[in-house]
């Protein structure tokens, strides 16, 4: 069972405590959201790269020429 370390700042005493079922569910939900965010971010990046490549093609520029132009 996953655990957490809790330190009581009033005493300085740290305890290792097993997570409750709710806390485990929260961790799992967070992981699922993080994965969904990663997929969405990569999709957005791919779309931007495709749009950029399309514009360069229309302009007849290579990536290197675009880099020189844009500085």
């Amino acid at each position: 069972m996953p655990t957490k370390i809790v330190v009581d700042c009033s005493t300085g005493i740290a305890e290792e405590i097993e997570l409750t079922a709710e806390e485990v569910a929260e961790l799992e939900a967070s992981a699922a959201k993080a994965e969904a965010d990663r997929i969405a971010t990569e999709a957005e990046k791919a779309a931007k790269e495709a749009a950029r490549a399309d514009i360069l093609k229309k302009l007849g520029l290579t990536e290197e020429e675009a880099a020189v132009l844009l500085g």
Partner: protein
């Protein structure tokens, strides 16, 4: 001369690892808080994102913007009204150079006030400069208006902190 910057509590993770590092019963006698973290996780990959929760709140009350980058790229992104928590930095993941850790410093001003709470953070991964590494700066806002009495530190993908990860909470007084 009074002590104006004092270590309140510190945690070092043991051999079994842990999913969360929590500071509870934070005294209200300081003006600001500083959280110093040195972390490594068992997340697959070279890096992992760290976030904090205040007072156990898991509702959509955390917003932040970060600017981070690696050896060749810089990225700026943000999350608004996130329920999981607020990003504060980066930790080395399981495939980063062995025995290296990400280092994070989080500044939380006016943590006992009755307004929304802000934080600023800077983070850098340690990687012996042989492979990809990240650094970043973060600015966030928690819309909770209660004084901060507890802080939880977690890894965004639900992975564990590994042994020798440390976190220290400091209190700062303005006089």
């Amino acid at each position: 001369m009074p002590t104006t910057y004092k270590a309140i509590a510190t945690v070092t993770v043991g051999a079994g690892g842990t999913s969360s590092i929590d500071f509870s019963a934070i005294p209200s006698t300081y003006t600001d808080l500083v959280l110093a973290i040195s972390a490594r996780t068992n997340k697959s990959g070279t890096s992992s994102d760290l976030y904090v929760q205040f007072n156990g709140v898991t509702t959509a009350t955390y917003s932040f913007r970060r600017l981070y980058g690696d050896s060749g790229n810089a990225v700026s992104d943000s999350l608004t009204n996130n329920a999981s928590g607020g990003f504060v930095g980066l930790a080395d993941g399981s495939t980063a150079t062995s025995s290296t850790f990400g280092n994070v410093s989080v500044y939380i001003p006016n943590y006992t006030g009755s307004n929304a709470k802000s934080w600023s953070a800077d983070a850098v991964m340690e990687n012996n400069a042989t492979t990809l590494t990240y650094l970043g700066i973060y600015a966030g806002l928690w819309s909770g208006t209660n004084a901060i009495t507890s802080i939880s530190i977690k890894e965004y993908n639900g992975n564990n902190f590994v042994q020798y990860t440390t976190a220290t909470l400091y209190g700062i007084k303005n006089s």
